[in-house]
């Protein structure tokens, strides 16, 4: 049996993002949050579909950040695409640094390959799948 909630982002998280962008006195109905959850999932599916098509046409098996960036621009979300491009580059630089730092210790995977295992490790246990980061 498929749990319906698996298809949607958590309502608390969605609600928090909505609240942060609105004036402090604004109120949001529960139905509006649910509708936003649904729209966000549809957005992910829509963009992923486009990105996946591109991968498929190029005979690649792994969908990466660049594909998402391209798909966003292709579907008219140019402003998101530009913002994401910077973000994706930073992630790659970080991975490259990490790989070269650990290469002296053991055989490291090439920096250009960001493996799916990383996500699985991070996602192990649904309760721990939220990323938290702190100011240094």
């Amino acid at each position: 049996m498929v749990d319906e909630h698996d298809k949607l982002l958590p309502i608390a998280n969605v609600g928090r993002i909505m609240k942060q962008i609105l004036p402090p006195t604004a109120k949001i109905s529960k139905e509006a949050k649910v509708r936003m959850q649904e729209c966000a999932s549809e957005f992910i599916s829509f963009v992923t579909g486009e990105a996946s098509d591109k991968c498929h046409k190029q005979n690649r098996k792994t969908l990466n950040g660049d594909d998402i960036c391209w798909a966003l621009a292709s579907l008219g979300f140019d402003n998101y695409s530009n913002a994401i491009a910077n973000y994706s580059n930073k992630l790659r630089d970080f991975e490259r640094e990490k790989a070269s730092a650990s290469s002296s210790v053991a055989c490291a995977a090439p920096a250009s390959q960001i493996h799916e295992e990383h996500v699985d490790e991070a996602a192990a246990g649904s309760s721990n799948s939220l990323i938290r980061f702190h100011l240094k």
Binding site: K27, N64, I68, E95, E116, V119, S129, L135
Partner: protein
């Protein structure tokens, strides 16, 4: 060490939205939704859900702001799902959401049809 924690330096520095704070969306859930979207989606790089989490945040922010404009126009202080529907109907890039927010296509039939015709 949790892999997720390793990304903290990037996420906090030079954030896209200029804000800092905990990452807002769970990666495992994003990955599940991505995989469900198409049978062609088999392998997803580690960065993809992270990238999507930022994209979703931007999307939710934009749709919320536009919906709130509708709320204000209606001289209200509570954002309702109808405001979301209106924001979708009046924003071209959100055309893919029209069926989702107007399943019965009742009051705004003419506007929706006009949008669909323009798109085609």
């Amino acid at each position: 060490m949790r892999q997720a924690g390793a990304y903290s330096g990037i996420l906090s520095g030079g954030g896209i939205s200029g804000r800092t704070g905990p990452h807002l969306l769970p990666l495992a859930r994003i990955k599940k939704i991505m995989k469900k979207s198409s049978v062609d989606v088999k392998m997803i790089s580690g960065e993809a859900p992270l990238v999507f989490s930022k994209a979703c945040e931007l999307f939710i922010e934009e749709l919320t702001k536009r919906s709130w404009n509708m709320t204000i126009q209606g001289k209200r202080r509570t954002l309702h799902k109808e405001d979301v529907a209106s924001a979708v109907a009046t924003t071209d890039v959100f055309d893919f959401l029209i069926d989702l927010v107007h399943p019965n296509a009742s009051g705004d039939v003419e506007l929706d049809e006009e949008h669909v015709e323009q798109k085609q």
